[in-house]
């Protein structure tokens, strides 16, 4: 039964992974001969301030993304789990960003945030007329916001589904005991959503670690190196500088960090003992 999935996974994930591991030990510019490099690429990547900065930015971006997306998605998801008509309408609106391609979203935001022709100057709002993507101190936060705008709907959907799974009897019992909305949320919804939170946060973390397309279109890693996160650094090293060896090192670092983080999260939260929360199972 698992064979097709395993074959696909082997061909498209494991084999390239070994390929990249091999590439990380050679010098190759994509055109000429491949020459043995030993651990030169690893040393060069470790001592390169741009790549080290990229690693730090990636951690920062991931933490900021989770801090921004997790609470907003949780609250929105719980809110939208209600069955009222207006909530269904709002849900449809909130989920719209899920339908857009990230390149289109990035291009639109670039236009909206343009200091000369963007929303700020069109509406004559000085507050909105910042040098959003051109200021090294601002650009990363703008990116966190746009990524959030794209992905909060997805995580909201997960939380909405998770919340709807919670047996209603629990709430009825709590209400009979006189628990208010806040109490119900803190003592029933949150604990019951534990595994949903783990799933969503893991997806968020690993997603942010490897996030690429939005940033590439929004800033291309600039201004300076202000948004040159690790995946972007890997891409630019590989496909702009044509240094496949160094790029492969960065790719392996990403794989290692991604694996470590998602396994770590699983362990920390006890989700590896993922037992069912439903009644009767």
């Amino acid at each position: 039964m698992a064979a097709p999935a395993l074959i696909l996974f082997g061909v498209f994930a494991i084999v390239p992974l070994f390929g990249v591991a091999a590439l990380s030990l050679v010098h190759w510019d994509g055109l000429g001969d491949i020459t043995w490099a030993g651990f030169d690429n690893w040393q060069a990547a470790a001592s390169d301030p741009v790549s080290r900065n990229a690693l730090w930015l990636t951690v920062k971006l991931t933490v900021l993304c989770v801090l921004f997306q997790a609470p907003v998605s949780l609250l929105l998801g719980v809110f939208l789990a209600g069955r009222q008509r207006y909530r269904a309408l709002l849900a449809t609106l909130f989920f719209l960003p899920l339908l857009f391609s990230s390149a289109a979203v990035a291009i639109t935001f670039t236009a909206l945030l343009d200091p000369n022709f963007g929303a700020g100057s069109a509406l004559d709002l000085p507050l909105l007329t910042q040098n959003w993507l051109g200021d090294p101190d601002l650009a990363l936060y703008v990116i966190v916001f746009v990524i959030g705008w794209c992905f909060i709907p997805f995580h909201t959907l997960i939380y909405q589904a998770g919340t709807r799974q919670i047996p209603r009897e629990l709430y009825e019992a709590a209400r009979m005991d006189g628990a208010g909305t806040v109490h119900q949320f803190l003592h029933i919804t949150l604990p019951m959503l534990k595994y949903t939170i783990v799933t969503s946060t893991t997806l968020m973390t690993v997603g942010s670690l490897t996030y690429f397309d939005l940033i590439f279109v929004l800033t291309g890693g600039g201004p300076g190196n202000a948004t040159r996160v690790l995946p972007l650094d890997m891409y630019l090293t590989g496909f702009r500088s044509y240094d496949m060896g160094r790029a492969s090192v960065l790719a392996l670092v990403l794989v290692a960090v991604g694996l470590a983080v998602s396994l770590g999260l699983n362990r920390l939260t006890g989700a590896n003992r993922m037992e069912s929360q439903s009644e009767g199972s």
Partner: protein
């Protein structure tokens, strides 16, 4: 339900694997057609190129060339993997420079010295020269010469009580006057970074002549910290600190044309850009062009500089090369196309019609017959009479150095690096 440890590891691997797959998943050949193929660029002179291939295919139904067009950035990435993996089209669009030298060193493109001599004999020598490596022709131009030009919105300059600057001192004075008038003196697409190259290339050339960059090309130690190069970098810092590019230049993207839009809408007075943006002015600001409000000039002279004031930078043209991996029939078809169809009468007409001047000798009379000959005449004379035509720096040097250059240059413009730090960082790449 419990998940076994091994399966979870695999699942987690799966979440991280697409990154890796992205590194290995390039280089497939789209629409692998029979016969000769060509990959070109969208935008710019795409129309003229399409028309040229259509005319060729009509006249040579047995030797058709199938052309595909890509956006600039996507193309540059794709073509290298395609050539490296033997999946390249017959005709490869390029910028010559270090990439062409790389192709030649790896025997990826063929010598076309003899098969295209009918074409190369008609070209302006400075442009034909760029397609040669070690005295042999490996690339022939396929569109217009693209010198970098200083464009002006004269209405804005006049309103600020200043005029087109011809010297560095006048440029600084104009910047002051324009700031006083509350407009951005010079539009610059800083987010794209490559427009910033135009500034340092011209400044280095005006200060130190073409020797300044030749030292870099020759890989001379300390080429970037030569006083002329450092002076050019300092002048950049001076301009940025004087507010010449406004506050928001690092947000401006060239691909969307947000830089020249500032000039056509009167929000900025000047822009240093390639001649390829002129058609955009015709489309976006026809009134400004018709009223004579849009002016153009060569780069200002630096008073005590050693550079020749007629020297220009930019792209002498784009080039076609024939790949060694294509079949002999396809190579022959492509060579015939190059010598017979490139810059034939119809091709020249379609280029001139979009305001693009092909690097062909003796075009003066044909340009004079065009409806709007002023800009064509200006750029043609600029290229014809140039003491030197320096290829864009990011194309001229190896890709890895070019990336470092773009990175450090953007930081120089942002004020994160001083001129001396910029020079030191660049010296380290030699």
């Amino acid at each position: 339900m419990k998940l076994g440890t091994r399966r979870r590891t695999l699942l987690a691997l799966g979440a991280a694997a697409p990154v890796v797959a992205a590194l290995g998943a390039c280089g497939n050949k789209p629409g692998a057609a029979d016969g000769a193929t060509a990959w070109g660029l969208t935008g710019g002179a795409e129309e003229a190129m399409r028309a040229s291939f259509e005319a060729w295919n009509k006249d040579n139904p047995d030797n058709e060339i199938t052309a595909e067009y890509f956006a600039n950035d996507a193309y540059k990435e794709k073509i290298r993997t395609a050539i490296g993996s033997g999946n390249a089209p017959t005709l490869v669009f390029g910028w010559a420079g270090a990439t062409l030298a790389d192709y030649v060193a790896n025997d990826q493109v063929v010598d076309v010295t003899e098969s295209t001599s009918a074409l190369t004999d008609r070209l302006l020598p400075s442009v034909a020269q760029v397609g040669m490596v070690d005295g042999k022709v490996y690339a022939v131009p396929n569109n217009q010469s693209q010198p970098v030009v200083l464009y002006h919105n004269n209405d804005v300059l006049e309103a600020a009580g200043t005029q087109i600057p011809t010297t560095w001192t006048e440029l600084l004075a104009a910047v002051e006057a324009l700031k006083g008038a509350d407009v951005i003196p010079i539009a610059l697409a800083g987010q794209s970074v490559w427009p910033e190259l135009m500034w340092i290339s011209y400044l280095a050339d005006r200060v130190g002549g073409d020797a300044a960059f030749q030292r870099v090309l020759d890989g001379e130690a300390g080429a970037w910290s030569h006083p002329d190069m450092v002076r050019a970098a300092q002048m950049i810092t001076e301009l940025v600190e004087a507010g010449a590019f406004g506050d928001g230049f690092a947000s401006v993207v060239a691909d969307a044309g947000a830089d020249h839009a500032l000039v056509s809408t009167g929000k900025a007075a000047m822009i240093l850009q390639g001649s390829w943006i002129y058609p955009e002015f015709l489309t976006n600001a026809p009134d400004l062009v018709a009223s004579g409000g849009l002016r153009f000039s060569t780069f200002p002279v630096v008073e005590d500089g050693a550079g020749d004031p007629t020297a220009i930078v930019g792209n002498p043209a784009n080039y076609w090369s024939i790949t060694a991996s294509s079949s002999e029939d396809d190579q022959a078809t492509a060579a015939d196309y190059l010598s017979e169809a490139v810059y034939d009468d119809a091709h020249i007409d379609s280029l001139l019609a979009i305001g693009a001047v092909p690097p062909v000798a003796g075009l003066e009379d044909r340009i004079a017959e065009e409806e709007d000959p002023e800009f064509l005449d200006f750029t043609y004379a600029m290229v014809r009479d140039a003491a030197s035509f320096e290829l864009s720096w990011d194309q001229a040097i190896p890709a890895e150095q070019a990336q470092e250059l773009l990175n450090n240059l953007s930081r120089l413009f942002l004020g994160e690096l001083s001129a001396e730090e910029f020079a030191a960082a660049m010296d380290a790449t030699l």
